[in-house]
Structures are given as C-alpha cells and as structure tokens.
C-alpha cells in the first residue's frame, strides 16, 4: 500500500513508466504466443511421427506431382519389419489462395485406417465419435475448423461444393489435426484429384493416388532402421521418422522462436530503461525524505529495499497490464482467425508467468542503481537538500 502511494505520488509519470513496461510485456506475450503456438505444433508433429515411418514421394521423382501410386502400399508391406501400412491423402480444404500462413493450412485428410490399431497419437472427440474408414460421405472436424465450417454433430458441412455429414468433432490437440477434416480415403482422393493439373487429371484415376503412407514397425524394430530399409527396397520414395522431422523442422523453428523472444525482450528492455529513469528522478526528488528516513533510524539496506521494492512493483504492474493487453489482442486475433480456421496465437500459462517474472526481474534490476544511490546518500547533506 505504502509502496503504491509512493509510486503514484507522480501519477502521470508512474502511469507512463508502467505503460512502458506493459507495452514491452504486451510485445513479449503476443510474439511469444505465436512462438508457443508453433512450438506446440511442432512438438505435436514430433509426437505424431513418434514410433512410425512416413513415406512420401522422393524428392528426385519430378513426375510424382506430390503423389504416390497406391500400388506402393503392397511393396512397403512386404518389407521386413513392417507391421501395417496406412494409405493417406491430404488436400487443401478450400481452393482460396492463402498468402500468409502460420502453421498448417486447413486441410482434408483421408486414410484407409489400416494402421489405426497401432497408432500412438491418440485423438479425442469433444462431440460425436471417430470416423470409420468405410463411411464415405461422412467426416470428423478439427477443433479450429468448427467455426469456419459451422460444424455440429449430425449436421452437414460444405467442402469443395459437396456436403458431408459430421459424425464427430475432435478435441484440441494443439497440432495439425486441429485444422484438418478427416474423411475416408476415397472421398479425399476425389478432392485431391480435382487439384491435379488439367493435363494429367484425365490420365490419373483418383482411387490410385495417395500423398503418403504411414508405416507402423513390428515391435522391437527401430523406425530409423525400417526407414532405411524401405528406402533401399522401394523405389521412388523417401522415408521420414520423428528424428528426421525434428532435425528438419525443430532446428529452424528454434532460431525463429529465439528471434521472436529476443524482439519481445528488447522492447521490454526499453521499458526497463524508463524505469531506471523514473526511479532516478524519484530518488533525487525524495533526497530530503531519504535524509529524514535515515535520521529516524533507517539503515542503508532498508532504504535500498524500499526503492527496489517500488521498482519491482512498477515491473509487476506493467507486467500484469501487458498480460491483460496481450491476452486480449491474442484473443481478438484468434477470434478473427477462427473464420478462416487459423488460430495464430497461443497464450500459455508458462508464457504469462515468465513474462510477468521477467518484468518484475527487470524492475528489480532497473531499480538497483537508483536505490543504491539513495541508500548511500549522506544523511546530513540529504536533510539540507531543498
């Protein structure tokens, strides 16, 4: 209470200083929430890849159009150590052009479900149930797409000019399935075939193409070993494991998140400088008061503690303000993005706690020099100060 009274002795200055911190924390929260979203997305991706090998067209087969012939499924199944192979196909949910995107674009995904019993990435349903691999014309919808598609269980959704019945809504996974619609393999194949260039569309039959295979190894077989032997024995494919995914995606992401946090931290640092300024002014204005406090028995440590505490409280107030502001903006951003099925921000508890902690820490550090200066004042000189 007394600390607050001291801080707000100069209301405007206190408000401006706290705003400086708040804006810094705001930047940290908003940018950090993008980084959090991407990090969890990628962590989810690593989880998804865990324990399996994903087969995609090899990079050098220029004619593949990103597709694999479904015949490869049999070739892969024959490789020693393979337990099951799911054929999967993905296509974009809509043909709208998206220029900027965070995370995966909304998609439709179909699978023949052959590997489902061995899948370790568990999907929950907030409503309805899972889709069976034979239920053509039916779909389950990812949590981020519910609003965009206006989906509810028992109702229908319109995808690429066709109506599908919704049998389930997926729970939040914080990764790819949130922005996906799951349908049967053959339904998804139809959509994917429509996306093929006109020249080849007629020469390819929709039910022969897939975009990838998910390979589940026999117990005791290492995914990396299996990936190597599939690449050796099956022509025109590349095989990826969780480790490859981490190597390819996680390292660049870490650089990205580091940059994002650094930018946030720099804006907060600027706020910290204004705290130093404010506290220095406050100390010099209160020189006489410091003399009084010393005369009535305050030790250097008590004076120092008082000013560091004031500074820390400025940091705390700014931090809380920034959290409120940042969470609000992230919320508004996500609400606006919900229409297109894109939630860009994710304000996590750890992000909030670390942002406020950083702001308080910065307050303490910024207050240190002015407080030290105050504590060292000569009481006689301070008492004479006008």
């Amino acid at each position: 209470m007394r600390t607050l009274r001291n801080i707000f002795r100069r209301r405007m200055r206190a408000f401006l200083t706290i705003s400086g911190i708040a804006i810094g924390v705001f930047a940290l929260v908003v940018m950090g929430s993008i980084a959090e979203k991407l990090t969890l997305l990628v962590d989810g991706g690593v989880d998804y890849y865990q324990g399996k090998v994903v087969i995609v067209p090899s990079a050098d087969s220029a004619t593949s159009l990103g597709m694999l012939p479904i015949d490869k499924q049999r070739d892969i199944e024959r490789v020693h150590g393979v337990r099951a192979v799911s054929a999967e196909i993905s296509a974009r949910l809509s043909t709208e052009t998206v220029t900027v995107s965070f995370g995966p674009l909304p998609s439709v995904t179909g699978s023949d479900g052959k590997g489902d019993p061995y899948e370790t990435f568990k999907i929950t349903y907030s409503a309805g149930r899972a889709l069976r691999p034979t239920e053509n014309g039916k779909v389950v919808v990812g949590s981020d797409l519910v609003k965009k598609l206006d989906a509810k269980v028992g109702g229908t959704v319109l995808i690429r000019k066709k109506r599908y019945e919704v049998v389930g809504i997926m729970g939040k996974t914080l990764t790819a399935p949130d922005s996906a619609v799951y349908m049967t393999l053959s339904d998804a194949q139809q959509i994917a075939a429509d996306d093929l260039p006109e020249l080849v569309r007629d020469s390819v039959s929709a039910n022969k193409i897939v975009s990838d295979f998910a390979v589940y190894p026999e117990p005791g077989v290492l995914p990396s070993v299996l990936a190597a032997s599939i690449k050796r024995k099956v022509e025109g494919v590349d095989a990826y494991t969780a480790a490859d995914f981490e190597k390819q995606i996680k390292a660049p992401l870490q650089i990205f998140t580091t940059i994002i946090y650094a930018i946030g931290a720099i804006s907060l640092l600027v706020g910290g400088l204004s705290v130093i300024n404010t506290m220095t002014m406050s100390v010099s204005e209160r020189t006489r008061e410091i003399g009084i406090r010393k005369a009535i028995g305050a030790s250097d440590a008590q004076i120092m503690g008082q000013f560091v505490l004031e500074s820390a409280v400025i940091g705390l107030l700014g931090g809380l303000g920034g959290i409120v502001l940042g969470t609000a903006v992230a919320g508004i951003g996500n609400a606006a993005g919900a229409a297109s099925g894109q939630a860009v921000f994710l304000v996590t508890t750890r992000l909030m706690i670390s942002s406020v902690a950083f702001a308080v820490f910065l307050g303490v550090v910024s207050g240190f020099y002015p407080a030290w200066h105050a504590a060292r004042l000569n009481p006689v000189a301070a008492l004479r100060y006008e």
Partner: protein, 256 residues
C-alpha cells in the same frame, strides 16, 4: 588517542556515567566547499550533556551548532575528537552500528517538521519504530499511543498536509519519542512556528522532559525557547564559548 587516554577516559566516564549522558571532547569537523575552499564548522568543541536535562544551544549561524548536533546524533562523524553516549564511544562507529545507536538512543525533531508526506500521522510515527525492528502492527499501536501523548489522538489518520504546523511538529515529537531514546535532538524545532504555537511546543517538550525523563538538546535562535530550558550553551566559531553553567550550579557537572 593512545591506550593511556582511552583508559583515562573510561575511568572518567564511569565516574560520571550516572549523570553524563553525552560527552563530547575536542570535536573538529571541516567541510569542503570546493577544491581549496573549506570551512571549519567545529574546532575543538567540548561539551557535556547531563541525563534528564533540557539544554538549549544558541549561537550565530555558522557557529557549529547544527554540525555538533549531527555528530552527537550519529548522522555524521567528526574528523577529530571523541563522542561518548551513555558511557559508550560512538564517534568511531560506522555503518550498521551507527544506525543502531541512532535509532535506539536518539530522536530528532527538525525545523521543517520533516514528516513523510505520503504517510498519515500514525504511519509517520510508526515508521521509526518499524525501522527499529518492531512489527507493522506493534509499530502502529505504539505510534497511536504516542500521538495520544502529544494530544493528537483525533488526528491519527491525517496526512501532514492536513495538519497545522504545530500539529505536524507534535507528530514529529511523537516520532522522536517512539523508540524511547536517551536524547531528543531538536534542530530549530520552533523555527517555522508562530509565537503562540512555539510556546506550546516548548511547553510540551518540557512536560515530556519532566514526566519521562527524556534528555532534550535544542538548537535554537529563539531566546524564549532558551529561557524555558535548564541552561543555554553558547557556541561561537566552532567551539563552546559558554557552557551555561551558572556560578550557582556545581562546576563539575554533578548537581545535588
């Protein structure tokens, strides 16, 4: 300051401990004003303050009264000389030890009242107790008790700007008393007050001096304040020109 003198001084102090609360001997203090420019505020001031007395220190500006008070009050250290408080040498103390003596044995009353503007009357008084290590709650209780003593029981929650000069100075007196100090040092305590209020404050200090036995040392320009005290010490050019001991009082500083 050889061991010999120290031993001699100890003997001296123990003999007079019962009556002398503050003993200052040969105090020198030089303030630097510029590179080659300085002022000798004290040039060998020697003074004894008796336990329970109320003494006034007068003298022209620059005579060293305030410097003497700051050194005796542990706010400043002398360049030379010794200060003994309650039989303990304090001029050699530094840092935390000095702060302890200041907060436990000394109370200050200033000319400009010097209350903390953001704190209420009771908080101002309690602050000194809090610095001395009392809990917040006990400090406030003690603060209210002392505000009662100075007759401000109905103004405890007012901030200084809501109080008259006389009331503010009474808060300052309560604050000076909150840790039961051996000596209260007043630096022109009536300097900012009109005659009537000034007399009121002096009367109050006298009452406290009588009822609680608190020693008062009051630096003042006001002859009426000096008259109300037991004796008037006159300082001039950094030394004690007149210790104010009448022919009638015993010259060895050992009355009755």
């Amino acid at each position: 300051m050889s061991d010999m003198t120290d031993a001699a001084m100890n003997a001296h102090v123990s003999a007079e401990q019962a009556t002398t609360i503050l003993h200052a001997e040969g105090l020198c203090k030089r303030y630097k004003l510029g590179k080659e420019n300085f002022v000798d505020a004290l040039r060998g001031a020697t003074l004894d303050i008796r336990r329970g007395e109320m003494a006034a220190i007068m003298g022209p500006s620059g005579s060293g009264k305030s410097t003497f008070m700051h050194i005796a009050g542990c706010l400043d250290a002398p360049d030379d000389g010794e200060v003994w408080m309650d039989g303990r040498r304090i001029d050699t103390l530094r840092g935390a030890d000095l702060v302890r003596v200041r907060r436990e044995s000394i109370g200050f009353i200033f000319q400009g009242f010097n209350l903390i503007p953001t704190l209420s009357a009771e908080e101002n008084v309690a602050l000194a107790a809090e610095y001395a290590g009392l809990s917040r709650r006990d400090s406030l209780e003690r603060g209210r008790e002392l505000l009662g003593v100075v007759g401000l029981g109905d103004r405890m929650r007012h901030v200084p700007s809501e109080l008259s000069g006389g009331q503010q100075q009474r808060v300052a007196i309560a604050r000076a008393l909150v840790n039961d100090p051996a000596i209260v040092m007043g630096d022109e305590p009536t300097g900012d007050l009109d005659t009537a209020t000034s007399a009121e404050i002096v009367t109050m200090m006298r009452e406290i001096n009588t009822s609680r036995g608190t020693t008062f040392v009051i630096v003042t320009h006001n002859p009426e304040v000096a008259v109300a005290c037991d004796r008037t010490i006159v300082m001039r050019d950094g030394v004690v020109a007149d210790s104010g001991e009448d022919a009638g009082a015993q010259s060895d500083g050992n009355p009755s």
